[in-house]
Subunit: 286 residues, 2 copies
Amino acid sequence: MPPTDELGAAAIDLDELVEVAGLLADAARRQTLAGFRRPMLVEDKGGTEASTIDGSGFDPVTAADRAAEAAMREVLRDRRPDDGVRGEELDDTTGTSGLTWVLDPIDGTRSYIAGMPTWGTLIAISDGTRPFLGIIAQPHVGERFVGIDHPERRQAWLQRQGGRSPLRTRVRSLDEAVLFTTFPEVGTPAERAAFERVRDRVRMTRYGADCYAYALLAAGHVDLVVEAGLKPHDVHALVPIVEAAGGVATAWDGSPGHEGGRLLAAGSADLHRAAMDLLAGVPDRG
Amino acid sequence: MPPTDELGAAAIDLDELVEVAGLLADAARRQTLAGFRRPMLVEDKGGTEASTIDGSGFDPVTAADRAAEAAMREVLRDRRPDDGVRGEELDDTTGTSGLTWVLDPIDGTRSYIAGMPTWGTLIAISDGTRPFLGIIAQPHVGERFVGIDHPERRQAWLQRQGGRSPLRTRVRSLDEAVLFTTFPEVGTPAERAAFERVRDRVRMTRYGADCYAYALLAAGHVDLVVEAGLKPHDVHALVPIVEAAGGVATAWDGSPGHEGGRLLAAGSADLHRAAMDLLAGVPDRG
């Protein structure tokens, strides 16, 4: 029986969780780098025709993607057998500890397939209500962006080349902001129109960085990320990193964003509000 | 007086030129990394208002950009005083050797400013008719893509972590191709329409990788790059790397591409021809 705090909830050992999350990133690293920039088989998960960026049927999954998730689950079976697991590739498992790991072995599979070093392995832990620990790992560059957003501790840092530096968002006005997005690749026409209202107001827009854009936002190089069509495993790790670094990450309407859909991340609360105003009024997807 | 070959032209010592090009990359590295992911002053070179991606007035230059070019020129004054230099930032100098170095200290300044590790330092040597040696260096990732396309030697390789691996393009049909571009950021409406004819035929399109897209093409991860609005210093280094790796890099009409404008690079001659057919008929810029 794990120790419990005075409210009866299982006590959380944040240091142990950070350690295990690091072991997961190590395990995934071996598998993702084994496949990165190697000739590979690209399956079409949806069973539909491969399409150009304007279609929606093209969802590449690689052998490395599955092998990396399996390797992470193996670590969890050994070190955290009572926790649940939600992954991109394999079936969800329910735990008894109240904690759930949310895993995306390769976020940004299109970048991965094209050899771009801006995909990431996403690792998060949720207490059932929200993710409170997240990692974005980019093993080719050798970077890990880590965030803890928990009542006991709020901290975000970048690990690279054996060193550790704090992550801190910067504060910019909308007209000075650098915006990242995955548009034009995803999104309904209404979502795209809303995105363009933000794009037309900022200083610079960059495309297609996936999770890496949130890492750069947490590090204070990027001010806004606007995306749509996200899955829970795409988002869980991002929210605690952005929030612990001083930013705000929510759904476009300001509600909690970690279950996916439309995500807005900003370096400051003011900038988040300004972008949210421009993104308002998009109807729910049917 | 340098040694001359039987035609009276100055003999070229390729090994020495590769060595000096590496020293230039080293010198640029110190300056570019000193500014990368640091808070920085962004000037507007054109003297016009900063604008969104749809405008054309936003051309950020950083202190690092100029310092890196100055550092490279310093190496050349010491090691290759008789060669000419064309750079992005400083005045051209004419040499007496018949060789000219073409330098772009930071290609992809937008990526640089946003913290993305996909900008590059471009170093090329031209014999007055064409570039025959090129380097794309990405110092944050620690990569140098090098190509020699010269009658004496044709060779392309990636240097990383003390190792060296050959670069070789892959052969794919148009409908299987991965395409990179900087559109929607650059280009006239007619150029963009031509680009979209290619985009609509390929398997996947990715945006905004600048010179790094050509490095990935040479390495066999990307099949096509289509761009417009390029300057000579944007292009000189790319052509010998792509060609020495087995690809084809020309202007959209098939003429030599190294003086800039519209560039098309492909992993194979067949794919290059197929893309050129789709890009045909765009009128010259006025």
